[in-house]
Symmetry: C2
Subunit: 157 residues, 2 copies
């Protein structure tokens, strides 16, 4: 993908400059041991993470609520440009098969800003209802809290 076409009626965007280099942010996103430490806003935890970092490969996480309820998502990587852009979707299962519960595509982009990183997370949806649902689930707040956790992980690398 060369261009990223965002439609305000369909998409959610979180953009922030963080004070860690993008190479570390990339590691935090692409190594299961790191992902488990930051991916789910506390008090939820990420108890499992599988990564097969290639187009068509699996990105699977199991998130656990404080009450012990587990939520598993097995998505599919679409585009991987090291230290720059990571794209995956739950609209496809691993191997590019259409999924039974399509919801959104995530595009993470990283740009160097001095010693830090401009971090942009985009959520693309099929229709305004799905966008609204994701908004009500707390996309911006949740992904923002997870980003705080990610930055803390990077600072300990």
């Amino acid at each position: 993908m060369k261009r990223i076409e965002i439609d305000p009626a369909l998409d959610l965007v979180l953009e922030r400059v963080v004070d860690v280099p993008r190479e570390l942010v990339w590691k935090a996103w692409t190594q299961p041991g790191h992902v488990k430490k930051w991916f789910t806003p506390a008090p939820w935890t990420t108890v499992e993470c599988q990564i097969d970092l290639r187009p068509g490969g699996m990105f699977r996480t199991v998130m656990r609520s404080p009450e012990g309820q587990e939520h598993s998502v097995a998505g599919c990587y679409l585009e991987i440009v090291e230290n720059e852009r990571l794209v995956w979707t739950d609209a496809l299962a691993p191997g590019f098969r259409p999924s039974q519960q399509p919801f959104f595509t995530a595009i993470i982009t990283l740009e160097s800003v001095g010693q830090g990183t401009r971090y942009t997370a985009r959520g693309l949806h099929a229709d305004p209802a799905a966008k609204r649902k994701h908004e009500e689930m707390g996309f911006v707040d949740g992904w923002g809290k997870a980003l705080d956790q990610l930055v803390a992980v990077c600072k300990k690398m």
Copy 2:
């Protein structure tokens, strides 16, 4: 994608050896002028075709029935390995956005067999119902007739 994982309960497969080289089959699949000549089994015709041959790029066709009814599909390319493998899906719109009417992912693989080509078209579905629907729509027969038309196009290149 390295492996192609096929599930007989979910997928449809058409495999045939054709007597044209795979480089010509690839051209027939990736150049709009060629696609329009063979993509839809007669008496249906393909009246429009747009191709943006990159992951995330558009593969759009407009098919027309003998009665003049038009059916437009705008899918998204996922993987492009020249002369070897072409993957696209209608579960994503161009730009990797989840689509409103996900149905199947297509994987076309080409292998040289002497002067000819082992041509394999796979249709991957989310569930058995979607597979059955595609079967009833005539996947094997329709894609087989289209392949006959494709071979005829290659022979005139």
